[in-house]
């Protein structure tokens, strides 16, 4: 039973990190209808930049915000230089460009930082505790707290602020929103900045959680998160979060705990196919 709870907590942490990556993808799909595969490269860059700042300054208080700023800028650059000019083409054009961009950024990380596995020996300043014989490490607590905080802030922005209203209007219909005086371009810029900054947080959390940074750490998330936004309902941010956490739990409990002989990374796609057959609009899809 103790093992079960430990796995449950690990699964929740992995699911939280999936959620932090996937929600950026869901935001972008919701407004531009682009499958932003390169988002996972932003997450990788986030981990590297965080590590670089940390190894020079030894403080996460500089590493995390610094990495967020760099990733936000990269995200906006991707949107302006690649996606926006390609919106007039059929959807496979931005999709393939996104995959190419993803591979390029991944390779760039490898060329600059080297092919070897780097460590990220930072401790997240959160207390660990034990309950009923189950030890919850400070890192796990940090993952939960940071995820909850990010989700709360995002919820506040989207539902309580004027900017959130503009964002929701733009994701309904960008042209209509523009005609109502919403500056759609700025909304899209801001969304890429927010999504990318959150991805960098996810990158740093993963790097510390596993104590590893490597150039291909984004490969599996890149495609898994596509399956997750289908499961969650294309463009639904709450759906993406729910699907992510369920997948994190499923991966650790079904494969890690129940020992079902199945490749861990195929689970997301199997779940996607089941959901597509049973509820094609996704768990929380809009119809």
């Amino acid at each position: 039973m103790q093992l079960f709870f430990e796995q449950l907590l690990n699964g929740l942490a992995i699911g939280s990190i999936y959620a932090l990556i996937t929600l950026g993808l869901a935001l972008v799909y919701g407004i531009l209808r682009i499958l932003h595969v390169a988002h996972a490269a932003v997450y990788t860059v986030g981990a590297y930049v965080g590590l670089a700042i940390y190894s020079h300054t030894s403080t996460l208080l500089l590493a995390i915000p610094g990495s967020m700023v760099v990733c936000a800028l990269i995200g906006v650059a991707i949107e302006r230089l690649v996606y926006f000019p390609l919106l007039k083409y059929p959807p496979y054009v931005p999709l393939i460009s996104s995959i190419a961009l993803f591979l390029s950024l991944e390779e760039l990380c490898r060329i600059i930082a080297g092919p070897e596995l780097l460590t990220f020996p930072a401790a997240l300043p959160f207390p660990s505790f034990s309950a009923g014989g189950v030890r919850v490490s400070g890192t796990l607590v940090a993952v939960y707290v940071v995820t909850a905080l990010v989700l709360a802030i995002l919820w506040f922005i989207t539902s309580k602020t004027e900017f959130g209203l503009a964002m929701r209007a733009a994701s309904q219909d960008m042209d209509v929103a523009s005609s109502l005086g919403v500056d759609s371009r700025r909304v899209v810029d801001a969304m890429f900045a927010i999504g990318s900054a959150i991805a960098s947080i996810a990158g740093i959390l993963v790097a510390i959680y596993y104590n590893q940074v490597y150039s291909t750490m984004g490969t599996m998330p890149a495609y898994k998160t596509l399956a997750l936004i289908v499961v969650g309902g294309m463009g639904s941010v709450p759906g993406a979060v729910v699907a992510s956490i369920l997948l994190g739990l499923g991966e650790t409990l079904l494969i890690g705990f129940a020992n079902i002989p199945m490749p861990r990374d195929a689970l997301a796609f199997i779940a996607m196919i089941i959901v597509l057959m049973w509820k094609p609009a996704g768990l929380l899809g809009r119809g």
């Binding site: 390609l86 496979y92 460009s97 995959i99 190419a100 591979l103 390779e107 990374d265 597509l276």
Partner: protein
């Protein structure tokens, strides 16, 4: 000459697979990012039939094609009914799942793969490298002829119409699902053919040969050469096949150069090298005009406003 034959054979095999993907993406406008799965299914089917069931290459080939096309039909049917964005994702999923099935099933040789695949025998003699290259070339020519015929057939026209506008196509009496499925099955069949040839070329296969990166590489060939053009996939396969040989000294930067090249291509020339608005085609045409400065006045340019 052996080095040349080895490189050339692989290019020809990949060109066949790329032609198949071009039918799906270029003709019918359906984004498939799991083409390597069908390439792999063809290879595994032929490898199993020759090593375990003792068939010859020529007996295994039609069976492998049938198996690939049948699986293409079964996997395509649900995927093609959903929204077009979903197809890209479901085909990625198909690729990962098929690869996982090959790795995790002992029946398919597991992580070790299948070895000892026999050479192709023609009229009692085993084919050498150059002869096998010639055989692959014959299949490439047949594939190109098939693509050309498909583009001229009503079934192909139905695909073009669906690619341009699905709603309008269906109001012209075309069943979009049937049109997309015909392209999907033909395309996967050609991937199966390429896979069968690959199995007898490599003579040892494992799941990693058919992973998602291979799908991306086949897609790059089609994009680079020009989607929907007849010879684009062949040109793309040649470029992507020859580049690593040229960039051998830069082997560390190879993937980076590729992906940046692909990015620049799709960003600035989404039609590909042989596509409609291509710089290359434009250059060739203006060269042609320079050489033959007749027929300059085009009567169609006059009534530009279309007011009849």
């Amino acid at each position: 000459m052996d080095y040349f034959a080895t490189v050339a054979t692989l290019i020809v095999i990949q060109a066949i697979a790329a032609c198949g993907l071009n039918v799906i993406v270029g003709y019918a406008g359906q984004i498939s990012l799991g083409h390597a799965a069908f390439f792999g299914i063809g290879a595994y089917a032929s490898a199993m039939l020759t090593t375990k069931a003792g068939l010859t290459f020529w007996q295994a080939l039609p069976a492998a094609l049938l198996i690939t096309m049948l699986l293409g039909f079964l996997l395509g049917l649900p995927s093609l009914r959903v929204r077009e964005d979903f197809l890209a994702i479901t085909t990625i999923g198909i690729n990962f799942i098929v690869e996982a099935v090959f790795i995790y099933t002992p029946f398919f040789g597991g992580a070790l793969g299948i070895g000892g695949i026999p050479r192709v025998v023609v009229m009692g003699g085993r084919l050498g490298n150059n002869q096998f290259l010639a055989l692959c070339l014959v299949f490439l020519v047949l594939s190109l002829a098939l693509c050309r015929q498909f583009a001229r057939a009503w079934a192909g026209l139905a695909c073009f119409a669906v690619r341009e506008d699905e709603t309008a196509a269906s109001s012209m009496g075309i069943s979009p699902v049937r049109a997309k499925l015909s392209a999907f099955v033909l395309g996967t069949g050609m991937a199966g053919l390429a896979g069968t040839l690959y199995a007898h070329y490599a003579r040892f296969i494992s799941a990693g040969d058919f992973g998602f990166p291979v799908s991306i590489s086949i897609m790059s060939m089609v994009v680079l050469g020009g989607m929907g053009t007849l010879f684009g996939p062949l040109l793309g396969a040649m470029i992507i096949g020859i580049l690593p040989e040229i960039f051998r000294p830069l082997i560390d930067y190879r993937m980076f150069i590729y992906s940046v090249l692909l990015l620049l291509m799709i960003r600035f020339q989404p039609g590909g090298l042989l596509g409609d608005s291509s710089l290359v085609v434009g250059l060739l045409k203006s060269l042609k005009k320079l050489v033959k400065p007749k027929n300059i006045a085009n009567p169609r340019e006059i009534g530009g406003d279309g007011d009849v």
